[in-house]
Assembly symmetry: C2
Homo-oligomer: 120 residues x 2
DNA sequence: TATACTTATGAATAGTTGTTCATATGTTGC
DNA sequence: GCAACATATGAACAACTATTCATAAGTATA
């Protein structure tokens, strides 16, 4: 027999309805969580996180980043575009050269937070 | 003509060697950055971050999570395995039911940090 | 304007990943 | 043991993504 907190839901499966309702109540909007996933997607690729990590030190031009990562200029440029679209980096042009830098301090904080989790 | 801080490097491209060297000097190990990318990969998928977000409230069984996300049991189970392998969640069995919960507080912190970046 | 140089971008490709479907594993009560 | 239930897992497929290659766009200098 079913106890008080186990009822049918959604047509399938026995669940603890109150737990589900409570969790969903404090759950952020669907869309906000999607945005959050998109944000973290930027940090989930090796090339991108290496770029971001480099930029913590200083602004750098594309050629410098390319050399530091030992990657191709094209690959770096493509990833920089993604990071820029996500507003994690910004760029300034100085003649032929384009310098990239972190858009704000959050990048630094998020990476530091991740590091803390890893290294313990 | 080349200025003092612009020299050949790596066989291609003119770069600011000192900037590159300085950035690489304080740069974390290649492997550590790869681990970091792997960590953030967990947060980069909508299903996974929704699961993590749910578990902030309370531990939940697979059926509850499945109902809350309106997903299939299989999809949820697959993602839970990934999260568990990354040691972001842990599980305890109570009879037929398996409850999942956050492994530590870092998940909460990382999500909060991301939220802060989004909502401003 | 012609050339050299730095960065950006489109298309194609190879590798990765999330979901689904079917089924297996593990648990409880009869 | 058997039936019912909850969760886990392997294989296949579709969708997505990062890189490469070729080339375009923007800039400075002769």
């Amino acid at each position: 027999m079913k106890s008080e907190d186990e009822i049918e839901f959604n047509g399938e499966g026995v669940i603890h309805e109150d737990v589900v309702k409570r969790a969903l109540a404090v759950q952020p909007e669907e869309e906000l969580l999607a945005d959050l996933a998109d944000l973290f997607k930027n940090f989930s690729d090796t090339t991108r996180i290496r770029i971001l990590s480099l930029l913590i030190s200083d602004e750098m031009c594309v050629a410098d980043i390319t050399a530091a990562l030992n990657a191709t200029q094209s690959a770096v440029s493509h990833q920089l575009r993604i990071l820029k679209q996500s507003r994690l980096v910004k760029s300034r042009r100085a003649g032929k050269i384009v310098f990239y830098s972190l858009a704000d301090d959050h990048v630094k904080t998020i990476i530091a937070m991740g590091m803390e989790h890893i290294t313990e």
